[in-house]
């Protein structure tokens, strides 16, 4: 699949493990940057830098709340990744549906061998 080779691409934005960690935390709800600092064990400037990248691709939204800025996940922006994995997932689902049929046969044969049913 063709993808833009820039950091302004959601695929690249989430390629960084720390940024995925931030998304995992934000999946649990809105948070100020100060909450993320101890959870990630990173200095605040680094956390802010990661948040900026995530905001650039729309994966994270921010709003002002008094003196603090609250960050939240924008799942919609992650849709391309979901779609990308989904096609791979579908190929396995199809395969496993066939495997279900094979397993039903094996179960019936086993019951037949037992003779009790």
């Amino acid at each position: 699949m063709a993808r833009a080779a820039t950091t302004a691409d959601v695929f690249n934005a989430v390629a960084e493990p720390r940024r995925r960690q931030i998304l995992d935390v934000l999946a649990g709800g809105e948070r100020p940057v100060n909450d993320l600092v101890p959870l990630l064990g990173l200095a605040q400037p680094q956390v802010s830098k990661h948040l900026r990248v995530l905001r650039e691709v729309g994966a994270v939204d921010v709003r002002e709340d008094g003196r603090q800025r609250l960050y939240r996940l924008n799942g919609h922006a992650l849709r391309p990744i979901h779609d990308w994995v989904k096609a791979y997932e579908d190929s396995w689902s199809e395969r496993f549906e066939q495997l279900d049929v094979v397993l039903e046969d094996l179960k019936q044969k086993e019951q037949g061998d037992g003779g009790s049913e």
Binding site: V85, A87, Y88, E89, S91, E97, L99, D100, V101, L103
Partner: protein, 167 residues
């Protein structure tokens, strides 16, 4: 007889180099293991609905090789092979899995993707998990891309069917 579908596969990407596929089956693990490791049975499920398995060879011992060839509905062949590294009957398999890409240079042995397959039974049902461990994000992404390509091919086929029916 209709098989009881146990739902869809779940695919996650735990790290940049990994893919994790999990699925629950309504059967005990020795049967899932049997279906996974018996050539005549693999032939019945491995290609899904995308073609027919024309060859399934499994030398089920550590250091033994396996190779599957599928002829896709569109006529082209797709082949994979690998080597067993660890075998715990009915429990766990570790094997390499290499896609035989026509014209592509072979992967260095240390770069070959490794699948760690586990079979876990609870109340007569089995959770199968396939952890695909690659050595780079590029390689991992190529494997995930393969689903997209197959999916697009199917969409094209469906489109063609519709087009033909309209004609």
């Amino acid at each position: 007889m209709a098989a009881v579908s146990s739902g869809t596969a779940t695919v996650t990407l735990p790290t940049d180099e990994q893919i994790l596929i999990t699925r629950e089956f309504d059967a005990p693990k020795h049967l899932v293991y049997k279906a996974w490791t018996t050539p005549e049975l693999v032939k019945r499920w491995w290609s899904g609905r995308r073609g027919a398995v024309t060859l399934a060879e499994i030398d089920l011992r550590v250091g033994g090789q396996w190779r599957y060839v599928m002829t896709a509905n569109e006529g082209f062949e797709v082949a994979f092979h690998g080597e067993f590294r660890e075998i715990v009957e009915n429990e766990r398999l570790v094997n390499t899995e290499i896609y035989e890409m026509p014209g592509a240079p072979p992967l260095a042995p240390e770069d070959e993707p490794v699948n760690i397959i586990t079979f876990t039974e609870e109340d007569g049902r089995t959770t199968l998990s396939v952890l695909v461990q690659t050595t780079s994000k590029e390689l991992r992404d190529m494997i995930v891309d393969s689903g997209m390509e197959a999916g697009m091919q199917e969409s094209m086929d469906a489109l063609e069917e519709v087009a033909v029916s309209l004609g």
